[in-house]
C-alpha cells in the first residue's frame, strides 16, 4: 500500500485514488493486465512464461487479487485436467487504457527528464541574458562571459555549447579547438556577427548561426543538437558537414566554391558519408528537413 501523507482533506487523495494507485503500484499487476490485454485469454502457465522470474506463489496471489477487484476473469476450460483461462473484464480493459496513458505520459515527460545542459558563451551581457531566457524553460543553462569562463563551465555534462566566435581572452575558435581535441561529446553551435567564409570548413562546430539570432532559430537549433547527441558519430559528422556546406553555398558564389580544393574535398567526404549511412533522412529526419528549408 502506498504511504500517502495523512491529511484531513480526503478530496485531494480520496480513498478511490489510494486504492487504484496501490493496485497499479504492485510489482506484477500492470504486467499481468497488459499481457492479458494483448491476447484472447491466457492460461496460468502462459502468463507464467511471459512474466520472467515470477514465482508461482506470487502469481497466484496476484491473480487472486485481480479477480477480487474484478479486473480479470477466471474461466475453467476443462476439469480433468484442470485448465483455466484468464481474460480481462470490461473494467480490466479500462484499467489497461489508464496504464497505457501512464506509460505514454512517462515516455513524453520522464524519459526526457535527464538534465540537458546548455552552456551559453558570449561576452555581450544582453545577448547572453536574452539567449539564456530563451532556453531556460527547457534546459539547465550555464553562462560564460569570456573564453576562460567557458573553460571553467565546461565539463562532460554539457550537451550543447552556444559559442560566440569572438570573445576576449580565449576566442570561440580556440575554445572549440580545445573541446574537440579533448574528445568532448558535446555539440556546438557557433554564433557570430561574421558571415561565414571558407575557413569554417576546418572548424569543428555542428551548426552556425549569424547574429542577430532569432529566438525560434536558436531554440530549434539547440533542440536539434540535443537530438543529435543520441546519434551515431558519422551521422553527426554528416549533418555538421551538410550544414557547413549549405551555409557556404548560400553565402559564396558557385564559381568561388568550385575553385576551392578544400570545399571539393569536403564535398566528396559528404558524398562518402551519404553512401555509408543507410538512409540519412531516416536517421535524422528533423535536421534534414530544417536544413532543406533553410537552404531553399
Amino acid at each position: 500500500m502506498i504511504d500517502f501523507p495523512s491529511q484531513s482533506d480526503d478530496s485531494l487523495v480520496p480513498e478511490s485514488l489510494r486504492t487504484s494507485l496501490s493496485l497499479l503500484s504492485k510489482k506484477w499487476h500492470p504486467a499481468i493486465v497488459r499481457c492479458l490485454a494483448t491476447s484472447e485469454g491466457l492460461g496460468y502457465s502462459d502468463i507464467e512464461d511471459r512474466l520472467d522470474n515470477i514465482s508461482a506463489k506470487v502469481l497466484t496471489d496476484a491473480l487472486t487479487e485481480l479477480q477480487e477487484h474484478e479486473i480479470i476473469d477466471r474461466t475453467e476450460v476443462s476439469q480433468q485436467p484442470l485448465r483455466v483461462r484468464y481474460t480481462l473484464t470490461d473494467r480490466g480493459e479500462e484499467l489497461e487504457t489508464v496504464i497505457q496513458s501512464l506509460a505514454d505520459w512517462g515516455e513524453t515527460h520522464l524519459d526526457d527528464d535527464e538534465e540537458r545542459v546548455v552552456l551559453i558563451a558570449d561576452d555581450d551581457t544582453r545577448v547572453r541574458a536574452m539567449h539564456e531566457a530563451w532556453l531556460a524553460d527547457g534546459y539547465t543553462v550555464r553562462t560564460a562571459r569570456d573564453g576562460k569562463e567557458t573553460l571553467s563551465q565546461l565539463d562532460a555534462s554539457v550537451d550543447v555549447v552556444v559559442l560566440d566566435r569572438r570573445m576576449p581572452g580565449l576566442t570561440g575558435d580556440e575554445v572549440l579547438d580545445w573541446l574537440r581535441s579533448q574528445r568532448y561529446d558535446t555539440r556546438v553551435v557557433m554564433v557570430t556577427a561574421e558571415e561565414p567564409e571558407l575557413d569554417i570548413l576546418d572548424m569543428g562546430f555542428d551548426e552556425y548561426l549569424t547574429k542577430p539570432v532569432l529566438k525560434a532559430d536558436l531554440r530549434s537549433v539547440v533542440a536539434d543538437l540535443i537530438e543529435r547527441g543520441h546519434k551515431d558519430g558519422r551521422v553527426r559528422e554528416y549533418l555538421a558537414l551538410r550544414s557547413k556546406l549549405g551555409l557556404l553555398e548560400a553565402e559564396l558564389s558557385a564559381d568561388a566554391l568550385a575553385d576551392d580544393d578544400e570545399y571539393n574535398r569536403y564535398l566528396e567526404r559528404l558524398e562518402t558519408l551519404d553512401d555509408d549511412i543507410e538512409n540519412v533522412s531516416d536517421a535524422a529526419e528533423d535536421t534534414v528537413e530544417r536544413l532543406e528549408l533553410e537552404n531553399r
Partner: protein, 166 residues
C-alpha cells in the same frame, strides 16, 4: 606528428603554466639537470592551445608528462587550466603540481595548498626566494616524479575518440 629522434621521444617533459619568464628560466635549469624538457605557457590561452595541439595526435608524444602551475603571481591562470584539465575527457588524469609561495604564514599556505588540492592538484612545491634553492627544489620535484615515482602501466591519457572532425 613531429619527427623526433628516439632519444628525444624518451625524454620526459613538463609544461609550466603562469610563471614569469625569470622563474621559468630557473625552473628550466632545475629540470635540465634531470634531463627533463620544459615548455612554457604564460597564460590560459597559450596553455590551452598547446594542450589542444598535443591532444590531436593519438600517440600522446606531444603531450607533457607533468603539468606545473605557478600560483605565485597569477594564480587564476593556473587554476583555470587545472579546472579545464580535470574536466576534460582526454586529459583528466594528467598529473599536476602547483608551485606556491614559501613566504606566507603557515596557516595561509595550508589554506592555499588545500584549495589547490581540492581542485585536483597532485602535489605542490614551495618556492624558495633564493634562485639556486628554487632550481634545486624543481630538480628534486623532477627526481621525485620522473625518478622515484613510476607512472601507471597504462597511458594516463584517454585516447578514446568521439566524432573526429578532420
Amino acid at each position: 606528428m613531429r619527427d623526433r629522434s628516439d632519444s628525444v621521444d624518451d625524454c620526459s617533459s613538463v609544461l609550466l603554466v603562469g610563471a614569469t619568464p625569470r622563474d621559468a628560466r630557473i625552473a628550466a635549469c632545475g629540470l635540465e639537470r634531470e634531463g627533463v624538457s620544459m615548455d612554457v605557457a604564460a597564460d590560459v590561452r597559450a596553455a590551452i592551445d598547446r594542450l589542444a595541439r598535443g591532444s590531436e595526435d593519438q600517440t600522446n608524444v606531444d603531450l607533457p608528462d607533468l603539468l606545473a602551475i605557478d600560483l605565485t603571481t597569477t594564480p587564476q591562470e593556473g587554476l583555470t587550466v587545472l579546472g579545464a584539465i580535470r574536466a576534460s575527457p582526454r586529459l583528466h588524469a594528467l598529473p599536476v603540481v602547483a608551485i606556491v609561495e614559501q613566504t606566507p604564514p603557515a596557516s595561509e599556505l595550508r589554506t592555499r595548498v588545500r584549495e589547490a588540492c581540492e581542485r585536483g592538484v597532485n602535489g605542490y612545491v614551495a618556492k624558495p626566494d633564493d634562485v639556486e634553492a628554487y632550481a634545486a627544489a624543481v630538480q628534486q620535484m623532477a627526481t621525485f616524479w620522473f625518478g622515484r615515482v613510476s607512472p601507471p602501466p597504462e597511458s594516463l591519457y584517454s585516447a578514446s575518440t568521439s566524432t573526429q572532425y578532420d
